[in-house]
């Protein structure tokens, strides 16, 4: 009976010691993982990459905004090798103009009106009140 108690006690001690070590190890692992994740997020934010990352939400259109895309022809690729001729340059210019048109068609990129008082909803002083003050 005493022997059984001793064995039981030893088993409990081993379990407790091993379990304790596992718990400490788990906590340390979580702390390290949290710290490294925090540091990398900080670097990601401070370096400015967060503003250039195309995979962020908001950079891609929402579901309701997706329109069916037309089937595009094979994309033009100007080869780095080959002869140069007026025809080659003509085709180059024609394709380049299409790209430039896409840029020009984009409505007023970064125009100042977007941050104007009116656009942001900051009430603008009315002209009549301005005249009164004069």
């Amino acid at each position: 009976m005493e022997k059984m108690d001793e064995v039981q006690e030893q088993k409990e001690k081993k379990y407790t010691k091993g379990g304790w070590n596992l718990l400490v190890l788990g906590i340390i692992a979580i702390v390290i993982a949290t710290a490294t994740t925090g540091v990398s997020l900080m670097i990601y934010h401070n370096s400015g990459d967060i503003y250039l990352d195309r995979s962020r939400p908001g950079f891609l259109p929402d579901e309701e905004e997706i329109e069916e895309e037309e089937v595009k022809e094979e994309e033009y690729n100007f080869s780095k090798t080959g002869k140069m001729s007026a025809e080659v340059v003509n085709e180059y210019l024609k394709n380049l103009e299409e790209e430039v048109k896409a840029i020009d068609d984009y409505e007023k990129p970064f125009e100042k009106e977007a941050l104007s008082d009116e656009h942001l909803g900051i009430p603008i002083e009315s002209e009549s009140s301005a005249e009164e003050e004069e």
Partner: protein, 164 residues
């Protein structure tokens, strides 16, 4: 007489300053009252700007890597290297980097602005807004510069075509 003149001068200066300070207070009160709406609109601008950057950035990268660079390489291969075209390509690459850097600065400022408490700190909020407007203007100028370089590139290529 002198005293009267001094008093009148101080009074006149006060009359000039008072409307300005009253106007500034009104603006701050307006910002404080409409804080929620202003922040929502700022977030919309943030989202739209992100899409604009992706859209334009994609085309700039395409023009540089699939048009300008291959053209200059092919010209060298054909012993037709053009110094102006090469210089233009370098200018475009530099302008693209500048655009990205200025965009990041602008977006950082905009994010700080969105995080500010415009209800209780309307004065600092408006000052920050003025600064962010300037930063946006810089990005706008960068876009104009890049467009100008692209036009220059097309002009040089048309001149090249005439010589072939």
């Amino acid at each position: 007489m002198k005293r009267i003149l001094v008093v009148m001068a101080v009074f006149m200066v006060g009359l000039l300053i008072l409307p300005v300070s009253v106007r500034a207070d009104e603006k701050q009160a307006a910002i404080s009252d409409n804080c929620g709406t202003i922040k929502e609109n700022l977030k919309k601008v943030q989202k739209q700007d992100a899409r604009t950057r992706v859209y334009l950035g994609g085309y700039y990268e395409k023009i540089l890597s699939k048009f300008m660079i291959p053209l200059n390489v092919r010209l060298v291969e054909n012993n037709l290297a053009n110094a102006k075209l090469t210089e233009n390509q370098n200018n475009f690459a530099d302008a693209k980097i500048l655009f990205m850097n200025d965009y990041v600065d602008y977006q950082q400022g905009l994010e700080e602005l969105v995080m500010m408490d415009c209800k209780n700190e309307s004065e600092s909020f408006y000052k920050k807004l003025m600064k962010v407007r300037e930063e946006r203007e810089v990005v706008n100028r960068d876009v104009a510069t890049m467009r100008k370089i692209i036009s220059e590139h097309m002009k040089l290529v048309k001149e090249l075509k005439g010589k072939l």
